[in-house]
Amino acid sequence: MFFRSNKIIFVLLLIISTITISNAKNDNFKVALTGKYPPFSMYDSHGNLAGFDVDVSKAIADKLDKKLILIATQWDAILPGLLTGKYDVIIGSMAVTKERSKKVNFSDPYYESGAQLFIHKRSANSIKSINDCTDKRIGVVLGETFAQFLRNKHPGIERVTYKSTVDIFNDLDNGRISGFVSDKLLGMYQIKKSKRKFIPTGELLFKEQMAIPVNKNNKILLQEVNKALSEMRESGELQQLFDKWFSNNSVKQKQTSIKRITIIKLFVKGFGLTLLVAFLSIIIGFLLAVPGGLILNNKKITGNKVIRAVNDLFRGTPVLIQLFFVYFGIGGLLSQKFGINLSAITAAIFTLSINAAAYMSEVVRSGLMSVPMGQKYAAKAIGFNKWQIFSLVIWPQAFRIALPPLMNSVVALIKDTALISVITVPEIIRQAQSVISITFDPIKYYLIVALMFYLITFPLMKFSAILEKQIKEKGFGNA
């Protein structure tokens, strides 16, 4: 379900970066971060965003005299979001690179860190530095600067990209990789937190400067942010914040543990949202699918080809890409041309509805097709008019035939909602990821999520099986 390659994101970026965004003046300061990068950004025991980046965001918002709005976004979607104007800045420990600087303007750095190779204690004797890693598998988090560094400076190393540090840790424990490259501060923090037997080895690979990217055409905001940062640096506020999180074991359990009740709340909220999005998409999708299926079933009707094309497009491309295009592409266009803000949930419901309609209309079409023509003749012979023939005779049979496959579409759609986390919708997968970034226990929490989905989909699948049996017994669809 996740991107495996930077290329896709890069292509998306290219397409989307052609859309420029005019930032309407307002009093909100919208800041994006991942919420999954402790101790820079994460959820505290009350389910609120906290961390060094969050504190810096608050301080800058104060200086700018604006209201802070934090938006939690997937790391690999965070730049496209900025380019399409979903938020004003990213304060998410983003390192300054040449490539990124082509697309955005970076503020002055607000802290420095460096890339560090970490290995498992058991290989302490065999791996002394990055130079011992040639032909070995080394993990990096997707979208960060480390992958590029390794590719350029150590091409002999086999890079393995991961969605999150948690996955890297598990694979290092299991011996699937020999080590990983991560931010030194972050790595030390996460290793300690998850009680792993990993150690840093060798010198820092390079130093990184973390800064705040701002949209290229938003020069004023860039100046304001730089001014705020320099004031904070001079007054010592920035150092205070840094010390709060990183000096001498300042990492307190209190700030990074998460209460069970908070987890339950996050999961319930997330799953509620998942079900809401799924429910609305199914309803809208079905309402579109009925006329869609009718038109598809009749080649003479104008619009047949249009619906055919839309269906093929939506069924033949990944939902993930569709979500990106609708949210960043269409969403960017709407905000640019009409000043309409397409929210992530609306974009998700829109995309999933069309998707559901594409699949369901095919099911409706085949349901209509499997009603024998003779049924129409017999109804006509009795004297029913066209509408009565359809509503009393054809549709009730077509619908019964279509119901089991429709149920399958419903199940598939409910599972597809897991994808909408990539466009920042705080549904169940995203909530689980936040919890996992603190607890470092992916197996347990993903199992719980899987179970929640199963509790909903299992009865639907059973229901579908029973219906199918009944329909066979009643002899629908037989001439």
């Binding site: 017999a378 012979a381 005779v393 009643k474 001439a479």
Partner: protein, 230 residues
Amino acid sequence: MLKIENLSYKYPDGTVGLKKVSMEIPLERTFVILGESGSGKTTFLRCLGKFIIPQSGSVFYYDEDIKNMDNKKFRQTIGIIFQRLYLFPHMTILKNMSLGPIKILKRDRKETEKEAYNMLERLGIPELAENYPSQISGGQAQRAAIARGLMMHPKIMLLDEPTSALDLKTTNDLAEWLKELNEKTTFIAVTHDIPFAKKVAQHGICLNKGEISSSGDIKKIASHMSSANY
């Protein structure tokens, strides 16, 4: 009286279905249309039922051209039961029968269902009322389909090969049954089953390659047909 004048029908692929068929069908008794398969008898029936439109010629119900009848009136004048019956599988037999009168004739549901039940009783199959079409036998389905057609009280009812799915006993039952029902509705049956034709009717025609090859008394037609190596 049903008057047919110069009825011709050609299929889209050029095959001749009917060639200038003219005749009069009196509406007092059951009438049969005999013929081999491919003789044009089903085509003829479908023209009478307005399921296909002849390229030339007309059909008159007394003085009225059926072309000019509105749909509702026409379907109450001429009903048709297809060879494959096409009972609606999602409804019970009772619902199959009462749906037309309720929705088309706007009749009261309870009264209609009562009438349908009475008809089933009269036909000796009241136990079928609450059954679905998939639950009944071929002979029962044939009766149920005719009963459904009769609920609309047509003056004429066209039957396409009513005995094709029936064994000898049920064929005989059906013949008896049609005789009883003959009072209010005239049956015009297309069949290649000569013994059945002899049982239900005295008069008929025989079609051959889209033309009337003989007409009149069934027994004569039958002997003519058997001599033609039918």
